[in-house]
Structures are given as structure tokens and as C-alpha cells.
Assembly symmetry: C2
Amino acid sequence: MTQAKYDVLGIGNAIFDVLVRTDEAFLARHGMTKGGMALIDETRAASIYRDMGPATEMSGGSAANTIVGIANFGARAAYVGKVKDDQIGQLYTHDIRAAGVAFETAAASGGPATGCCYILVTPDGERTMNTYLGAAQELMPADIDAAQIAASAIVYLEGYLWDPKNAKEAFVKAATIAHGAGRQVALTLSDSFCIDRYRDEFLDLMRKGTVDLVFANEAELHSLYQTSDFDTALTQLRNDVRLGVVTRSEKGCVVATKDAVATVPAFGIDKLVDTTGAGDMFAAGFLFGLVRNAGHENAGRLGALAAAEVIQHIGARPQVPLTELAQQNGLPI
Amino acid sequence: MTQAKYDVLGIGNAIFDVLVRTDEAFLARHGMTKGGMALIDETRAASIYRDMGPATEMSGGSAANTIVGIANFGARAAYVGKVKDDQIGQLYTHDIRAAGVAFETAAASGGPATGCCYILVTPDGERTMNTYLGAAQELMPADIDAAQIAASAIVYLEGYLWDPKNAKEAFVKAATIAHGAGRQVALTLSDSFCIDRYRDEFLDLMRKGTVDLVFANEAELHSLYQTSDFDTALTQLRNDVRLGVVTRSEKGCVVATKDAVATVPAFGIDKLVDTTGAGDMFAAGFLFGLVRNAGHENAGRLGALAAAEVIQHIGARPQVPLTELAQQNGLPI
């Protein structure tokens, strides 16, 4: 196994975030399930947007956020995802490259516009997402560059990739190449409704060893194993995957292997502003810790730190150098 | 004179803001004058953007920011400015309408893209702006709707309109219609470098009574009268315009007429994050105070309050309801 060129390569739906502060009534009026991610078509997108307040825009996408976080920590990161060559796709491409991420996926020259997500942030800081996949649906197995995958120590995939038609195939192709090159494959389960749509397939990926590491939050874990009992679900997770990391919001996280379970507390915050990107940034910190061989507990702490930063401002990407934040908090970098 | 349909109608360059935190070295490397607004062409825009970090985007434009602030305060507001019918133009149109502003200027279907401004925010909170005017250059006298202007109690114009070729004519047309209908015309001087480009024309607008009210910050006032002595400049301003309002950052503002000079202190802030929009929001509060006949000092206080809100976060538009903020601070609304 040769030295990896990239510490982590992420594959995901490339999505531009349109963020707006709103109230509970807006969610009710549009029949939205608070805290979830719903896929919407163009008609529904237009109807939601028409009713939305003035917004702030920035690049997003679950795995992309994580990869940007990893690059921000100082690791070598790459991303694979599909935008269109339109104005928003150009903003997207700029932002991820400017974050220090290698991003070479060819932009679509035709077809639907760059995907976007209307993110409604309620006064309690919770975010409710409505995603128009757009060009993200055009991600194909052909977009997976075998040499690049084989040169990445960890390949990180988002569960949301199960939604667009061909991305699943791209996912499996990437995982196969990665394992063929002796690399690790990580998956985040993304959203409990996403798990509802693909439960058996996700369990299959884990049990067959297509993925080595799984990230889930509590709701996703419960959804995956269809149980309301945390310990029951955790026991099953430990049987199904080599390394499972479960985030529990203010209760911190649990890092579980067949042999051991470690718990790591959450970082204290001044004020919860917007939970968008909390899970993505946790994964960024954790994966960065793995890359640096910091140990599972320190990896958990790095994850908690990055998550604490991102939930104290609007938007899913870090606004300060995470390296400095880690240093200030005595964490290994 | 019939009852006005709009309290304030603003005319300006419709510009989409691309905001990024950066350091002094970036400004030096690109030969930027800190704190100023420079006009850039496509080539220079590409060169700056290529070197810029990941950004946050939101709708902007000086007069547009002010008008959004006025609508946020609860007054009836309208805006005239030119975007292209491209993705960014659509975001722009959404945002200003969603803020409660009447915005009916036809978008350009061809020609340059919607204008944008690269705003570099340094650690001291100062912003340095680089504007690619794009479609804003296509604002024509034909875009001025005489009935709409005549139905607006105050027409508010930005000095930046002197840069695009035809906007000046649109400006004069609007001022003439407004005065013909017994309305008031306000001008913000926008930027000391803008004044350098058009000093005599601005003085002419004031002395001929094309504008009744002028907003300037200290640097702009000094530039306008080419003196470093504040009192000398203020005396000249009082001779040249019916109502002059000079903002002096943390020293507050001065409201000057031929008969009287009032000073109003600045509002205290916790932390200066980004000065983008400070002058625009001051003008919003002040004009709102005028609209409500709150008196010059209260108008100055409302301006100071709105400016204090906007400089404590990234971006030029208010993030909270200004009405509530005014109530909490015992100001008339």
C-alpha cells in the first residue's frame, strides 16, 4: 500500500445552501417535518422559495461540509460531487477549492441546475432542510477516478447518495476500489428519513463490510434498528460494523467497537444559533483525529469541538480556523 | 399632493455581495485601498475571486440595503435597480421582495451578468469592496416609472449611480419627477473615492437643489470639500444643502441644517465584526425617523441603532427585526 495522497476523500451530493431564519408556522404551513431533510421537486421548490424570507447563501452538502472541515483542520482532502456549470455551480466550485479541497469532478454542461437546499432555521436553532437535487443527480460511476480513490486513506460517503439514481453505483464502485487498495470506507447515515427509505441496503453495506466506519446520530441509530432503546441499538451497531460513532447532541458521543465503548462529552457553547452542519462537522473532527492517529477519544473530542463551532453561527461550514480552536482547547492536531 | 404610496423609494446599483474574511496581506497583494470601493472589470474580478477564500453570499447594493432596512422598520418601501435574469439575479429579486420591498424593475435578458461585489472583511472589521457592476450598468431612464416616483414621499439615491453610464440620467429624471410632485430627494455620497470622481457634479446637485438631504460619512465630507477640518466642511455642507447628516463611526452623527446642528452619540456594541452596510443602515434608520416625523435627533438615534445592529455580524442587511430592537431601546417607531 503506497502512501496516500489524500487523507480523506468525500463523495456526496453537491448542494448550495439557501439559509433563512423562520418560525414554526412556516414549517407547519408548508407541511415540513421539523429537523428532517425532504427531497423536493422544482414546483415545490418554487412554492417554498416564494414564501421564504430574505436568505443568506453558501456552499453546502453533507459530505462536502465534512471535507471542508477536514481541510480546515489541516489534512489533505478531496471531494467528488456534481454541480452544473452555472453561476451557482461556479460559486460552489470556488468555495470548495478555496477551502483547500481537491475538487475535479466535471461540472454538468446541460440538464438540471446546480442542486440547492432551502434550510429553514427556527428560533430554537433547529434546521429543517428541503433539497432540490438538481445536477447532483448526474453523479455517475464514471465520475469516480480509480487512481484518486486508491490514493485516499479514507473514503467518506454520505447516506444521501442513495437518493439520486446513479450515485449508489458510484458509491459502491468507490468502496470497492478503496478496499482493493487497502483503504478504509466510512459512511454517515445522514438522516433518519433517509434510513427509512434504504434501511436494508444500509444494513447490507455494513454487514457485508462495504463500509468500515459508520456515523449516526441517535435518531438515525434508532431508525436503523427500529428500536427506541439506545443500548439495544448500540449493541446491534457494534455487531454490524467495525467502528460505529453515535452523536447524541448535548450528551456528547459514543465511539463503539466490538471490544470497547467510549463516551466523549459535548463541548459547551454560549448560544445555539443553527444546528446546520453539526453532524457534518463532528465527522470532520473525528475523521481528522483518525487521520492523525489521535485515538478514538481524542477523535471524538475533535468532532465535538468542530460541531460546537458550527452550531454557534448560521451555516454549515466553519467560520474560524479549526486548527487554532483545537490548539486553544489543548487537543492534538 | 396626494398621499404617498411609498414612504421611501431607493434607486441604486443592484449588487450581489460575496463576502469573505481575509487578512491585510490579501489587500496588499491585490493592491486594494482598504475601506474603499473600487470598480473592477471581469478580468480583475476573476483574478481576485481565484485568490479569495470560501465566501458567504447575500443580496446587497448600498441603496437596496437601506431600503430593506426601512422596510424592516415597518415603512412602505420600493426599489429600482437592474439585475440580469440569471440565477444570481433571481436570488436578488427574491431577497428584496421577501424583505417586503416593492421591486418591479425589469431584469435584463441579455448583456452582462448580475453585478457582484467581492467584500473583503479584515480582522479589524473593516470592509474593502470590489464591484463588478455587470447588469447594474443597464439601468436606464426608461426604468424610472414616473407614477411610482411621484407616489413616493422620499426618493433616495446613491452616489454610486454616477458610475454606470445611464444611471445618472435616470437619477436626474427621478429627482425631477419627485420635486414636480412635491416630494423630497435624498442622496448618499457613498464613498470618498466616488466623490473624487464626481465632486463637482455632486456639489452641483446640492447647490441647485436637485437633492434636499445629503448623507455623508466623515471621510466623504472631507473629500467633498477637500479639507481636513471638520467644522469648515460642516459649515460648507450647511450652506449647500437643506439637511446634511454626517456619520462619524463611534463618535455618532451630526445632523445639520442652516439653523441648527445636533449631535447624536453612537450606540454601544459588543463586538465589531463587519462594517459592511453601516452607512446604509444608518440611512435606513434616519429616513425611517423622518418618515415617522420623529425629529432629527430621534432619526439619528434610529440610524445609530440600525448601524450598530449590522456591524455586529457578517453582511450588510439586518438579521433581526429592527422594529423590536427600536422598541427595546425605547425609540419611537
